[in-house]
């Protein structure tokens, strides 16, 4: 029996299997792709940016919930949320630290300190406010962040600052009704947010670039920002169908000069704890790019280990750029690992750093706890006019004076093209301000406004009331004519590597300024106890006499008048004897009368 199963039979079985497998493969032709990329950018100031980007493209659309049934690379946890709440676009960032534009140029994904979330809903959503609050709660659970605090008090509908980043009809993209924006500047971001974020990756953090994401190292950095960006994109060049794009980004800035005593040297092992030893098998692209812009300008000799697989020279705008590219798969097959390293032959020299074309500074002005102001200074180092949109959301307890909002440029008042102002309401709505105005070439524009600090109800103070209250970053949006210091991937493509093929002439820029910390008039919270004790004592002592004074009736009685017998008996039964007081009152009255008569006589005398 056994002999009957000959070698031919075995091969036939295998063939069957193969055919079935082949058939299955054809049937489930992957309609999604995944790519992992890392952009490394050393800065003049000594720090280094590592920007990880994990992109999943899927031929599905939230507008057609049926397409979200069979998940392969796209995370189901997120997909379900997107479909349930009919999200068209979602942008979430969780950031620790502040991006220093002056020293580091522009980040690939801009984010304010804390948490920021902005969402475009499908036009089919009937009650957007309700959907928003449900969505926020769902995301809050998904990312272990207190997104549920993004209630109606802190949510706004920006009119001009935000447009859909992906595919959208013109009619839709100009209607901010479908959009919600909120930010939590106080939110502290840490490991508990990173772990759920990593779980959305198809290879998790076991293989591939994500193995570098060691929380201990990431949160000991100068800046670290997590991002989730979902948007619909064109499936093909002709754009007849939609795909959904999920970009998971993580930017982290390290300062290697501290650990390597003044040298800018670093290697993946020293910064992330481990070198790269694997590639995500599900990824179609696994690449590392290194922006050599600074390395070329510095006068030190810089050596890269290992040699890059490819060096790409390209121009973006008018800016000439060079990327060194390593293909992770190729490197690992050759060396078993990729421990990217840079070696400088001399210590770092801190010189003047060329700032990016447009950057801003924002701060609280004035002192005292009654009034205050916010001033933003926007620098334009370009030799062209720029139109900028400035957006400010101010919590209701800083009562903004609309009349005090001024824009000046070297002392000359700038008239904004457009103003969108939504006054705040106590305990209900934030102040929202959007200004559209011109930034003159080579100039400094100053926006200032004054506010009054409200006195909160005592239950509204947080436990650390004397710490102060946070104010959201202001957002400045503009379009740059040049790509100097610009690192974001082009809007029309999904991958970081596509920036080498970018031939656009306009570059959209969104800046987030500093978050602010404002002190409000705060009562001494140990005081209520003292006050209660004191007030009770005072009331106990004074109450009796005040009550006595205010409720007793004083009657003027003529002492000459005969008092009836019944009255006398009645008086005897009364606790206080009114006669004495009455008598005194009448006495003083008579004195008064005498005085008056006296004055009269005196006056007469004087007259005489």
């Amino acid at each position: 029996m056994d002999a009957s199963i000959g070698p031919w039979h075995r091969t036939r079985c295998l063939l069957y299997f193969k055919i079935i497998f082949l058939f299955f493969k054809v049937y489930a032709l992957p309609d999604d792709t995944f790519s992992e990329e890392l952009l490394v950018k050393p800065f003049e100031s000594g720090q280094v940016l590592f920007h990880f980007q994990f992109t999943t493209l899927w031929n599905a659309s939230t507008a057609e919930p049926g397409s979200f049934t069979h998940y392969r690379l796209f995370p189901k946890a997120l997909g379900d949320v997107l479909v349930k709440y009919q999200v068209q676009e979602l942008h979430l960032s969780l950031t620790q630290g502040l991006w220093r534009y002056e020293k580091w140029g522009y980040p690939p994904e801009d984010a304010p300190p804390g948490v920021e979330l902005w969402v475009w809903f499908l036009p089919t959503v009937s009650n957007i406010d309700k959907t928003w609050s449900d969505l926020v709660n769902a995301l809050s659970g998904l990312f272990c962040a207190s997104l549920n605090f993004m209630d109606s008090k802190s949510t706004v509908l920006p009119r001009w600052s935000f447009r859909p980043m992906g595919l959208a009809s013109e009619y839709y993209s100009f209607d901010s009704r479908f959009m919600r924006y909120s930010a939590l500047p106080k939110e502290i971001v840490c490991t508990e947010n990173l772990t759920p974020w990593k779980k959305l990756l198809p290879c998790l953090s076991r293989v591939g670039l994500a193995t570098l994401l060691n929380a201990m190292k990431l949160y000991d950095s100068y800046y670290s920002s997590l991002g989730i960006h979902v948007r619909p994109v064109c499936r093909t060049q002709t754009c007849t169908d939609q795909s959904i794009e999920l970009k998971q980004t993580l930017s982290v800035v390290f300062d290697p000069t501290i650990s390597s005593s003044g040298y800018q040297n670093w290697q993946l092992r020293s910064l992330f704890g481990d070198p790269l030893t694997s590639q995500c098998p599900l990824a179609s692209i696994s690449k590392v790019y290194l922006d050599k812009a600074h390395l070329q300008s510095s006068d030190a000799t810089v050596t890269l280990y290992p040699e890059p697989d490819e060096v790409v020279n390209f121009t973006r705008g008018r800016e000439k750029l060079t990327y060194a590219v390593w293909d992770i798969g190729r490197q690992i097959s050759r060396h078993q690992q990729l421990n990217l390293a840079i070696h400088y032959n001399r210590k770092i020299h801190y010189g003047e750093i060329n700032p990016p074309p447009v950057y801003a500074q924002r701060f609280i002005t004035g002192f005292g706890l009654e009034k205050g102001g916010i001033t933003s200074i926007i620098y334009n180092n370009l030799d062209t006019n720029l139109t900028a949109i400035y957006m400010e959301t101010i919590p209701w307890f800083l009562r903004l004076y609309f009349s005090s909002i001024t824009i000046t440029n070297h002392g000359i008042v700038v008239k904004p093209y457009k103003i969108h102002y939504v006054p705040g309401k106590d305990r209900a709505r934030n102040y929202q301000l959007e200004l559209v105005f011109r930034l003159r070439p080579h100039s400094v524009t100053k926006i200032s406004m004054q506010f009054e600090r409200a006195f909160l109800k005592w239950t509204e103070y947080p436990p650390d009331a004397n710490h102060g209250f946070y104010v959201n970053s202001a957002i400045i949006s503009t379009v740059l004519p040049d790509a100097y210091n610009y690192t974001a991937s082009p809007q029309t493509s999904s991958l970081l590597g596509d920036s080498t093929r970018d031939n656009s002439t306009e570059f959209f820029l969104r800046l987030h300024t500093e978050t602010l910390l404002v002190s409000l008039p705060t009562p001494d919270f140990s005081m209520p106890y003292n006050v209660i004790c004191l007030a009770c004592t005072v009331v106990a002592i004074v109450f009796g006499s005040i009550h006595n004074l205010t409720t007793r009736r004083f009657i003027a009685v003529d002492p000459d008048k005969q008092v009836g017998i019944i009255q006398k008996i009645k008086n005897k039964f009364k606790r206080n004897k009114p006669e004495e007081i009455v008598a005194e009152l009448t006495a003083s009255e008579s004195v008064d009368q005498k005085n008056e008569s006296d004055i009269k006589t005196k006056k007469k005398e004087e007259m005489g």
């Binding site: 000594g46 630290g97 002192f367 710490h467």
Partner: protein
């Protein structure tokens, strides 16, 4: 509280007060002064403690040392840079030093326009250098400042080169540490306090008239605390902590305690006004008491002056807690090196870094009798109240006396005297209360408002009766003198040029003239009587008003600057309570002499004398007097300049409350006795 409802009982108390008022006054005053001074004894004050838990002082080991940094070489380099140009400061050198460390380094340009035509309209330029160490994980929402004044080689003040080098070393060390949660601003200012004010105004974007702060190219968040270093180079013997700020404001007691605790931890001697702590076993003895009393009075004297004792003093008005750590350098002795000093500063900064909230836990109003004993506001207010009580008791007694007088005269049926009916008395009583309230409000506000309210009061009193009405001219003219005094400086300064006088002298002699003029004002207001020129006022009523106003001034002052209120009260109260017109010539002249002794001009001169005594040893009375005279004219100008530059209100207080009150009492001495 029965006396509220029972007129009889109330009357009893009032009778008792008016009957024994003199004895009560003496008792209150003596008891008050004794009690207040006794606060320096450990029986009555308390041990300091850290109230803010978050500070956790000294929990971590301080590990600062000058790594890869040759202190002596840098110090030498700095001193050579200083020698290069005596008048100029090597700011560029400093800038490049900070830059080399890798901090965000900036320079602030500012210009000073001196008030009172001191520099004839020309402005003096200045530059501050500052560097910001950006905390790793926070978004620059909070900051702590470490500052040092930069002094040129030819400066009279002790050099701060040690502080500057230490700052550079600390910046290097701090940059490598991962634990910072607040940005650290390293600030080096020139022109002493003016530079500091310019930087603070620039940081908070405040537009000022006389110091024009230039734009600050870089900023951080709200400043939580500041430590100012005045450290000379070389080994130090001890550290002196300076806390008094502008207008007598003090930093939160927690900050002071923190500095003391960290110094003790590092084994460094720490003093307050160069007064060491008494040894613990001597603390409870009389010697110990004398020593702590001296420390307390020195501390109070310095606070009463209302001048900042260092650059830290300007932070307080921005609600930033700050103090100066001054290194005391003595030849031969001294074993505290720069690295120990560095460890102390590091310890303080690490504690400040732990702060979660602004300083708010501990006291803002306190008096220190040594670095580890304090007297809080709750402890010093009762004795102060006792010191001020005589004024109020006397006022009540006079008021009651006025009422009685009329009653008695009623009873005797005399005619032709000023009287007030009982009803009107009640009415004017409430009026008085109203006045008190309104004055309380205005006292904090600008002085101009005060005048207007005074005038309103006067209008009110118009209806109250001829008694109060009669005092109006005197009250009005004394307020007018106050107004003249406050407006004087500008006028005098603009005139001194045409008299070819130095501005300092112009203002000084101008004020002397004004004071002399105010001395003879009773003669001008007075009317001719049978006994020559006399003031025909109801002096009792006038004194009553004067005393009440004086108490009001002292009490409101005590809430802002207890030391000033204490010294003023102690000197003024006994004399103002005693003053009354008399027909006894000797007594009258004695009174006038006493009054002159407590006149604002003499008080200021006495203060200058004490100041001179503190500065140098007593040699002879003549030199003391002459030196104090010179100090006085310089001090007057400085106080005025402080008013324009920093917003000091000492001069305003003197011209709008101390001088007019004193003039009222001066007028009483010229009144016709009844």
């Amino acid at each position: 509280m029965g006396f509220l409802s029972n007129p009889k009982q109330r009357q009893k108390i009032i009778d008792a007060v008016s009957k024994y008022n003199n004895k009560l006054c003496v008792l209150c005053y003596v008891a008050g002064v004794a009690w207040f001074l006794a606060l320096a004894s450990p029986y009555l004050n308390a041990q300091t403690y850290i109230s803010e838990n978050a500070l956790l002082p000294g929990v971590v080991g301080n590990e600062f040392h000058f790594t890869d940094f040759d202190v002596n070489a840098v110090l030498k380099e700095l001193q050579e840079e200083l020698k290069k140009d005596k008048g100029k400061l090597p700011r560029d050198w400093l800038y490049s030093q900070f830059r080399m460390i890798g901090l965000d380094t900036y320079m602030q340009n500012y210009s000073i326009k001196y008030p009172l035509h001191i520099t004839r309209g020309q402005s003096v330029p200045g530059q501050n250098v500052y560097a910001i160490l950006r905390a790793r994980r926070t978004a620059s929402t909070e900051a702590i400042v470490m500052s040092t004044p930069f002094r040129p080689k030819g400066s009279d003040l002790t050099q701060t080169t040690g502080g500057i080098v230490l700052m550079l070393g600390l910046a290097r060390h701090f940059r490598k540490q991962p634990y910072w949660s607040k940005d650290i601003i390293f600030l080096v200012t020139d022109h002493e306090q003016i530079g500091m004010q310019a930087w603070l105004e620039g940081y908070h974007l405040i537009d000022a008239d006389y110091i024009k702060p230039g734009e600050l190219p870089g900023r951080s968040g709200p400043i939580q605390a500041a430590i100012n270093l005045e450290i000379p180079s070389g080994s130090l013997k001890s550290f002196d902590l300076k806390i008094q700020g502008l207008n007598g404001q003090l930093p939160n007691l927690d900050l002071f305690n923190l500095a003391v605790k960290i110094c003790n931890k590092e084994g460094a001697d720490v003093t307050l006004h160069q007064q060491h702590n008494v040894h613990s076993n001597k603390a409870w003895t009389l010697d110990g008491f004398q020593h702590t009393l001296k420390t307390m009075l020195k501390m109070m004297w310095s606070q009463a002056m209302g001048l900042p004792t260092g650059n830290h003093g300007l932070f307080h008005q921005y609600h930033i807690e700050a103090l100066t750590l001054q290194g005391i350098h003595k030849k031969k002795s001294g074993d505290i090196g720069l690295d120990t000093t560095g460890k102390i500063v590091e310890g303080i900064f690490r504690s400040l870094n732990n702060l979660l909230e602004r300083f708010h836990q501990s006291f803002f109003f306190y008096i220190l009798s040594s670095t580890n004993r304090y007297v809080s506001i709750g402890m010093y207010m009762p004795p102060f109240g006792l010191i001020c009580a005589p004024g109020l008791i006397k006022a009540i007694a006079l008021w009651v006396g006025l009422g009685k007088e009329t009653k008695n005269k009623e009873a005797k049926g005399e005619k032709g005297e000023k009287t007030e009916s009982g009803k009107e008395e009640v009415a004017s009583d409430t009026n008085d209360q109203d006045r008190e309230k309104s004055e309380e409000k205005t006292d904090d506000q600008e002085a101009e408002k005060e005048i207007s309210s005074d005038e309103e009061d006067e209008e009110e009193s118009f209806h109250a009766g001829s008694g109060i009405l009669s005092t109006v001219p005197l009250l009005f003219s004394s307020t007018l003198m106050g107004l003249l005094c406050s407006m004087g400086p500008h006028l005098l300064a603009s005139m001194s040029g045409s008299f070819r006088m130095h501005i300092e002298d112009g203002i000084f002699y101008g004020f002397l003239a004004l004071f002399t003029a105010s001395l003879i004002f009773p003669k001008m207001v007075g009317r001719k009587t049978s006994k020559g020129k006399k003031l025909l006022f109801d002096w009792q009523l006038l004194k009553c008003i004067g005393l009440i106003f004086q108490s009001l001034v002292l009490f409101s002052l005590s809430l802002m600057n207890i030391s000033l209120a204490f010294f003023l009260g102690v000197v003024i109260i006994p004399i103002t309570v005693i003053v009354h017109p008399t027909s006894n010539r000797c007594l009258l002249w004695f009174q006038k002499l006493l009054l002159l002794l407590v006149s604002p001009a003499v008080l200021v001169y006495l203060a200058a004398m004490v100041g001179t005594l503190q500065e140098e040893k007593f040699t002879s009375l003549v030199t003391l007097l002459s030196k104090s005279w010179a100090n006085l004219s310089r001090g007057l100008l400085l106080t005025l300049v402080d008013q324009y530059f920093f917003g000091s209100w000492i001069f305003i207080v003197f011209s709008f409350s101390v001088l007019p009150t004193w003039l009222v009492f001066w007028g009483i001495a010229f009144c016709e006795p009844t």
